[in-house]
């Protein structure tokens, strides 16, 4: 059962140009290797600087299967350290957020650490031989992850000490984060509104795939978005279109609409739907917002910012960002067949509250565990997770609109119903799963 750990060839055999082997979704061994390799070598989203505004503020979370804590060590210095006491391995702070003051203190034996993880003090220290302790792993304190990069307040880390730089990893894909931040008249976002936490009995990559799968909404969401449109149409004539219907209705647009939306792919598995049009393009204007943007940026620049209609941007491996709706979904891998989806909401600082109200409405309707759109999708993922165990047929098809030489350009724009971005993700998956060098 160690076929994949010792053989890159075995891993390569799982990803064909137009097909993906079911083991990628079902194998516990593959999952374990993803944690050791993929989630170590890539730049993974940790959290947002607005969650730790003051020195000593922390936010405890996971990166892959690793328990970490993001902490503001100094005014302009956010650290990510493993949430593990150097003494007995106890989780130092429980998941969630708070302020730890000048140091972390383990609740078990009161070992203390500075907010950069360095060991500060051990009770009864005379009980340790100083020279011997210096040679112990414990003397290193709470270890730091390999590297941290804060990009316009989005905090990413690479667990591995060696590897691609942040800039090389993301390249031009950062333009989606730029656009989301620029939508604030003050150029500033804040995490608000609470987090929606939705447990999925499926592999995390099914969710990532789904973000740029534009051939499912009119089918899988006929029951939810389609019904919302039907219910509204039955309302007496002259009834104003409810905000919820405005958000639901585009999901059941025809194939032609999604074809025209366009898809852009970047290197390393990043990409987005909505290059030319998107299901977020035709929302009603929010009173006061344009005026605030125009005042902040001038007419031309404001138009350029708001004219960007990107739908879903996948930052490989495991987040999706929506600029026009200001949300971020984080697909936290728990096991080969278990994923926690966290949906985070951002407030555009300096913009009218109505924008935030709309984002929260969107989150309730689409991303909550009580969301009918969520129910449609999860049913499909869970059915896939079950039936991928079929031995008689073992390949998942990702071949729609495949083109010659795909993936050789740093950036490409294609038909909106192409599975090019999905293939892009699996190429990146293979790259980081088989890369030589330190995990």
């Amino acid at each position: 059962m160690n076929a994949y750990a010792t053989s890159n060839q075995a891993l390569q055999s799982l990803i064909r140009s137009h097909e993906v082997h079911r083991d990628v979704f079902t194998s516990p061994e593959i999952f374990e290797l993803e944690m050791q390799r993929l989630f170590s070598r890539t730049w993974v989203y940790v959290g947002h600087a607005s969650q730790v505004p003051e020195v000593g503020d922390y936010f405890a979370t996971t990166v892959g299967d690793q328990s970490v804590v993001m902490v503001r060590h100094a005014t302009d210095d956010i650290r990510v350290i493993y949430n593990r006491c150097a003494h007995k391995g106890v989780q130092v702070v429980s998941e969630g957020q708070g302020n730890t003051g000048k140091y972390f203190r383990c609740p078990y034996h009161a070992w203390t650490y500075r907010t950069d993880g360095r060991l500060l003090a051990i009770p009864l220290k005379q009980g340790y031989d100083e020279a011997a302790l210096a040679h112990c792993e414990a003397s290193q304190g709470m270890k730091s992850v390999g590297a941290v990069h804060v990009y316009r307040d989005f905090v990413f880390c690479r667990l591995s000490e060696q590897g691609e730089s942040f800039t090389d990893f993301f390249g031009d894909s950062l333009s989606t984060l730029d656009n989301m931040v620029d939508r604030s008249p003050e150029g500033k976002l804040a995490v608000v509104g609470g987090v929606f936490r939705y447990m999925h009995a499926c592999n995390w990559k099914m969710l990532v795939e789904n973000q740029t799968d534009t051939c499912h909404p009119m089918v899988a969401h006929e029951s939810s978005a389609g019904t919302a449109v039907k219910v509204w149409k039955a309302a007496p004539e002259g009834t104003p279109k409810p905000a919820a219907v405005e958000l639901f209705a585009p999901f059941v647009s025809p194939y032609e609409f999604f074809e025209g939306m366009g898809i852009r792919t970047w290197r390393n598995g990043h990409g987005h739907t909505g290059t030319a049009d998107s299901i977020h393009a035709a929302y009603s204007p929010i009173p006061g917002y344009w005026e605030a943007m125009e005042a902040a940026y001038g007419e031309q620049r404001a138009k350029q910012i708001l004219g960007e209609v990107r739908h879903n941007t996948v930052y490989f491996p495991n987040i999706m960002v929506k600029g026009p709706i200001q949300c971020l979904r984080l697909f936290k891998p728990i096991a080969a067949n278990r994923t926690l989806v966290e949906s985070w909401t951002f407030k555009l600082v300096g913009a009218p509250d109505e924008l935030l109200a709309r984002t929260l409405l969107y989150q309730r309707l689409i991303n909550a565990p009580t969301s009918v759109v969520g129910h449609d999708d999860l049913e499909m993922y869970e059915r896939a997770q079950r039936s991928l165990h079929t031995r008689a047929a073992q390949w998942v098809n990702v071949g729609r609109l495949q083109e010659q030489g795909e993936g050789q350009q740093p950036e490409a724009v294609v038909n909106g119903t192409s599975e090019a971005q999905i293939r892009n993700q699996y190429r990146a998956w293979l790259k980081y799963m088989t890369q030589e060098g330190a995990a």
Binding site: E222, K230, L356
Partner: protein, 158 residues
């Protein structure tokens, strides 16, 4: 109807749960006032439904969408169908007046689908008022004891 008694409010709450358990969902929907809402906060003691996330904050249009969706032939997340069971403690009457009142009811709610059964615990607060001569729901607020936990699908109404 001019005189509202505590017992009428209590009976209403039991009746509402019974309609949900028997899946008489059109009748259930008709219990809501025209501007009635069903609210499930995301956080304990949450006051704001607009600028704070909620699991549900739904008016009649959205509730009607859910009820219609549950009947749909292409509603695959309901094949097989979910079923539910409300176990209510006797509602406490917090307010009673000429035009309605408010109750708070502790409950255990069970939702099942195929071989899966999930139990939730919480409290429902009903704000009831007279509309066209009948008691109607202005707001049903469901506070789960673990409202901020990670959940799988919650497909029916608590």
């Amino acid at each position: 109807m001019s005189h509202i008694t505590s017992q009428m409010l209590i009976d209403f709450v039991y009746h509402e749960a019974d309609l949900l358990d028997t899946k008489a969902l059109d009748a259930w929907l008709a219990l809501f006032a025209q501007d009635g809402v069903y609210w499930m906060p995301l956080q304990p003691d949450q006051q704001d439904a607009r600028l704070m996330g909620s699991l549900m904050y739904e008016d009649r249009v959205l509730l009607a969408t859910r009820v219609e969706r549950l009947k749909g032939k292409r509603t695959f997340s309901q094949q097989p169908e979910s079923r539910c069971h409300h176990l209510l403690q006797q509602p406490r009457v917090l307010q009673v007046h000429d035009q309605g009142g408010r109750t708070r009811t502790a409950s255990h709610y069970t939702e099942t689908r195929a071989d899966e059964q999930v139990i939730y615990a919480g409290w429902a607060t009903h704000d009831l008022q007279i509309e066209s001569g009948e008691l109607r729901i202005r707001c049903k607020r469901v506070d789960l004891v673990n409202c901020d936990a990670a959940f799988g699908n919650i497909q029916l109404f608590m």
